[in-house]
């Protein structure tokens, strides 16, 4: 295994490319449950923010942030067309009836602002274990979705047909704006 700090910097683009792919999946109505090979009905939607970056000719970067519940994503799609990639996205994930909201950062795949489904249990002494187990279960669910999709993405990306099929589909989507 590579040195951790080196590996983090060298392969952070994989996370950014992954988030860009997630946006593509959402916008092109792909079946997330079948990608996850899950019996549960899993859907993803773009939430209230998306951040993109575009490397400019010199060493500088252009950062495009779109925020707001009703924000249009046109600026983002235009940026994609100019060569930008997603670095952070707020997602709404539904697993059957349960809704999760969170922001995920590409380079680390860290999650912030995760809101899990409401629990009926209280944090009173006799129910604390139940709350802990239920909250843990919710968190594990989300990371399972993230990791399974990520590894599925990498399987596609390392497959021989990626350049003909996968990448081409994303380019066609970006070209359609």
């Amino acid at each position: 295994m590579l040195d951790i700090a080196t590996a983090y910097n060298k392969y952070k683009f994989l996370g950014n490319d992954y988030l860009t792919w997630i946006w593509f999946l959402i916008e092109t109505d792909q079946n997330i449950s079948s990608l996850l090979n899950s019996k549960d009905v899993v859907t993803l939607e773009v939430g209230n923010s998306i951040v993109l970056e575009n490397k400019l000719g010199d060493k500088s970067k252009e950062k495009i942030t779109i925020k707001g519940d009703q924000a249009g994503l046109e600026e983002g799609t235009t940026a994609l067309k100019k060569g930008a990639y997603v670095t952070q996205i707020n997602l709404v994930c539904k697993i059957n009836e349960d809704e999760y909201r969170f922001t995920i950062k590409g380079e680390s795949l860290n999650i912030t602002g995760l809101k899990t489904p409401k629990t009926d249990l209280s944090t009173k002494e006799n129910e604390i274990e139940g709350v802990v187990l239920e909250k843990s279960f919710f968190c594990f669910n989300i990371f399972k979705v993230i990791d399974t999709l990520f590894l599925n993405y990498l399987e596609q990306r390392t497959a021989d047909e990626w350049n003909i099929k996968g990448l081409q589909d994303i380019r066609n989507w970006i070209g359609s704006f």
């Binding site: 994989l14 950014n16 860290n110 602002g113």
Partner: protein
């Protein structure tokens, strides 16, 4: 900033290796050995250690549980003393005036100013209480997964150091590369192919 709060920020780790002997006893011993001191030190700018989730200000792992179902759950508490710059400025001005009066001079040298600053910080550091911050740690030992409920860099660094000291297990931070290395069922040639990937260009 914890598992039970309404929103969570989470960074993840893969825990490599195994604990020898009785797992629960060894984890309890590690937590007790590196629990946050009950009595705050007057001199330490920062102190950090474990404490039970249900008792953040009384780090008693004999009285409070760290085992929930099959998971270990405890908190990392980091107590930090931070003196606001304006408070230092105020006390420096007072001490500089005192020094001028005592010496009969209407100026003081750069070296004297540095000495006064050090003295002021030293005195204030003893006087002010540390501000505690709590970060929950959820450890699924069987699956080698650990969830730290923060994404703050400093807290992550403290966690990594104290965890290694406590359990002699190295926590490996999970991010794109380490997820492939530790959580995938990819074959070695597949892992090699991932390592040869380069950033995609979406525009034609």
């Amino acid at each position: 900033m914890g598992l039970i709060s309404s929103t969570h920020s989470v960074s993840r780790y893969h825990i490599d290796g195994k604990i020898e002997g009785s797992l629960i006893d060894e984890v309890r011993n590690g937590l007790i050995k590196h629990s946050i001191p009950k009595i705050e030190s007057d001199y330490d700018e920062i102190s950090a250690g474990w404490t039970p989730v249900e008792s953040p200000y009384n780090p008693d792992f004999d009285k409070f549980s760290f085992l929930f179902g099959t998971y270990f759950l405890f908190s990392l508490r980091i107590d930090k003393k931070a003196i606001p710059a304006k408070v230092i400025q105020k006390y420096m001005a007072i001490e500089i005036e005192k020094k001028k009066e005592k010496s009969g001079r209407d100026f003081i040298s750069k070296n004297e100013k540095t000495e006064i600053k050090e003295m002021v910080i030293d005195i204030l550091m003893h006087k002010i209480p540390a501000i505690p911050n709590l970060y929950d740690v959820l450890w699924d030992y069987e699956k080698k997964n650990l969830y730290l409920y923060t994404t703050q860099k400093a807290a992550n660094e403290f966690f990594e150091t104290i965890f290694l000291k406590s359990f002699n297990l190295k926590p490996i931070r999970l991010f794109p590369y380490t997820i492939v290395e530790t959580k995938s069922k990819f074959s070695n040639p597949q892992k090699d192919r991932v390592q040869t990937l380069v950033p995609l260009k979406y525009s034609r």
